[in-house]
């Protein structure tokens, strides 16, 4: 078992909307590769109460599909509490969750976003072929850069 001590990985999406399932698929690959499922969280979307949850961890990864073009079809980058506020609490962005966590609970987990490019979003189960490739590449990069993962072993 590869433990993810003090690290939470949140997959965001919906696997009945084609490539919107990329976030969940990323978690499924982690589970298949022996990472402990207790630290993997499947979410349709982030919600405000997640501000409390992430405060319990040292490191948090948010994994989601991305509709806009990104150079390598995936991207992993550090994120920080938002200074500007988003205009929808239905789709609470990760940096707003971090902001709420800091504002209400005075906690600042180290946070990263993993964006994986998707292409099709219709009501259908299954990723597109290119999305599967992007997912594989994102996962490989994640594993090769384990130093990103707090205290993984």
């Amino acid at each position: 078992m590869k433990k993810l001590d003090n690290t939470l990985i949140i997959g965001i999406g919906n696997n009945t909307r084609q490539d919107d399932g990329l976030g969940w698929s990323f978690l499924e690959i982690l589970e298949k590769n022996g990472f402990n499922s207790e630290n993997l969280l499947y979410k349709y979307q982030l919600m405000v109460e997640d501000a409390e949850l992430i405060g319990e961890y040292e490191t948090v990864f948010f994994v989601d599909a991305c509709k806009t073009d990104i150079p390598k079809e995936f991207e992993i980058k550090r994120i920080f509490p938002a200074e500007q506020v988003a205009f929808s609490t239905h789709e609470v962005p990760p940096n707003q969750i971090l902001n709420l966590c800091e504002t209400i609970y005075n906690k600042k987990p180290k946070a990263y976003i993993i964006k994986i490019q998707g292409y099709e979003w219709d009501i259908e189960i299954g990723l597109t072929e290119q999305a599967k490739i992007n997912l594989k590449n994102a996962f490989s990069f994640f594993i090769e850069n384990k130093n990103l993962v707090s205290k993984s072993r």
């Binding site: 009945t16 349709y44 405000v48 205009f87 609490t89 239905h90 504002t103 209400i104």
Partner: protein
């Protein structure tokens, strides 16, 4: 001034995506206004061919906010496919499902109040846009924000205890439920050791109602008149007593004066309702066949439910209902912004119901599933947080779904929301020399009062700007704001 068209897209702080178009004439007077639903959701088609027992699981993908409501409505329909009517479920199964439902309504109502409504209430409709949001609420009133999070969490914990940790979790199976409740699970919600207990939820719900009533005292004229208009009201009521009922009952509709328009067995709905379509929206417009498209539409949701029901069965919520009803001399309440007040009374009601159930030993029974003679049609109707939710499924002899029809709460409220947009647009935008952001926010508030769930589910990163477009009469873009 040439004719202009104002487009607000998407509507902010509602569940899903939508677009508002307001057409102004040469003098700047509102000519017409529409709420468009721009995303087509082909779920009814998608589910065809799937085995019926998959429906309660698959329909949860319809919405990230209310998967439990879809799960339970589908489960009620699927029960009938295996020959089990609601009254034939075991007491334990019925009570566990009800507990799940009340947890869902409680968390959804608290989410709406604290995170969608409270910014407008705390800071006012004229506050800068960057201040009307939950982070600003948290900054100015940390305790209120914390309570909001804990109340939503309490409802979510109820759901988790019953339906499992992951989002794929389920409680209902054809004819019943697949798990019972344990003493440990019950104590978790009663003893207050790990999370604030159910008594705290009741106390906090009462506090929030007091907060709303005080706000009403100071802002009564605005609340009473904003986006107010007469309408019919539709909701489930208890089959025997006419009390407020959220899980299973008769469908009752009244007009704006309180005259009864409909009082039917819920499964008879299809003989009494039709759905109209408009070329500018994917969302249909349901109406009661007998009264036609113009006069037969209903509001649904908390306000409608308090109008259609005779009383509330839990004591604290009933006291609050009586105060609420006294404000309109026991006549139907057609004041749109009172929906927030009604929602909070329901939140208190759900907290009380949750306590009642937690203290009921039937919850820990082991008789979980009933059986019957299979049928080919099932109809499940519940009162979801946003209003009446209808699921209907037809199957072939192999149990594969051949037809599905869903009428979600927001569909029922489609006409009502459009009327609200028109009323507010006329009030705040007509013949004004300048269109300000607070004016646009008021239009959105008329929609948000219904807590609409416009579509859902695809929320990939980077796709939710607010775009405001001004177009002239020929459709040329003359101004645009992205926030």
């Amino acid at each position: 001034m040439s004719k202009r068209k104002i487009v607000i897209e998407p509507v902010t702080r509602v569940e899903g995506h939508g677009k508002v178009t307001i057409k102004l004439d040469e003098k700047g007077k509102v000519e017409d206004a529409f709420l468009h639903i721009v995303e087509f959701r082909g779920f009814e088609k998608f589910i065809q061919g799937h085995p019926y027992w998959e429906a309660p699981v698959l329909v949860q993908r319809l919405c990230g906010i209310c998967p439990v409501s879809h799960h339970l409505a589908a489960a009620k329909a699927i029960d009938q496919l295996v020959g089990v009517d609601p009254e034939n479920l075991t007491p334990t199964a019925t009570k566990l499902r009800r507990l799940l439902h009340y947890g869902q309504v409680f968390q959804s109502h608290s989410l709406h109040f604290f995170y969608l409504a409270s910014p407008d209430i705390l800071f006012g409709i004229n506050a800068p846009a960057e201040k009307r949001n939950i982070v600003a609420v948290a900054s100015e009133n940390r305790e209120l924000a914390k309570k909001g999070i804990l109340m939503r969490k309490f409802g979510q914990e109820i759901i988790k205890a019953l339906a499992g940790k992951k989002i794929h979790g389920i409680l209902a199976v054809p004819g019943g439920v697949h798990k019972t409740f344990t003493k440990e699970e019950r104590e978790y919600f009663l003893d207050g050791k790990e999370i604030p207990n159910v008594d705290t939820m009741i106390a906090w719900s009462k506090e929030v109602i007091d907060f709303m009533k005080n706000y009403h005292l100071e802002n009564g004229e605005w609340i009473d008149n904003f986006a107010a208009y007469p309408s019919n009201h539709l909701g489930l009521v208890d089959k025997e007593t006419g009390a407020l009922e959220l899980y299973d009952g008769r469908l009752r509709s009244i007009d704006s004066e309180g005259n009864e328009l409909l009082n039917i067995e819920d499964i008879e709905y299809r003989y009494h309702f039709k759905e109209a379509v408009e070329p500018w929206s994917y969302l249909k417009f349901p109406y009661m066949t007998k009264y036609g498209r113009e006069k037969g539409w209903n509001r649904v949701g908390p306000l409608a439910r308090l109008n259609t029901s005779s009383h509330i069965t839990t004591p604290f919520a009933e006291v609050e209902r009586q105060i609420f009803k006294a404000y309109t001399q026991n006549k139907p309440n057609n004041m749109t912004m009172h929906t927030h007040w009604a929602r909070l009374i329901e939140m208190l009601h759900c907290a009380e119901l949750i306590k009642e159930l937690l203290l009921d030993d039937d919850l820990m029974g082991t008789d979980l599933v009933s059986t019957g003679t299979p049928r080919n049609k099932g109809i499940g109707i519940i009162e979801a947080p946003r209003g009446t939710l209808i699921h209907e499924y037809h199957t072939d002899d192999k149990g594969l779904i051949t037809k599905c029809n869903l009428i979600v709460s927001t569909t029922h409220n489609n006409e009502a929301m459009n009327r609200g947009v028109r009323a507010v647009a006329n009030e705040v935008l007509s013949e004004k020399p300048e269109i300000t952001e607070p004016m646009l926010n008021q239009v959105e508030m008329a929609i948000r009062a219904y807590d609409p769930c416009l579509s859902c589910a695809t929320h990939a990163l980077g796709q939710m700007p607010l775009i405001v477009q001004l177009e002239d009469t020929n459709g040329n873009l003359i101004d645009e704001k992205i926030r």
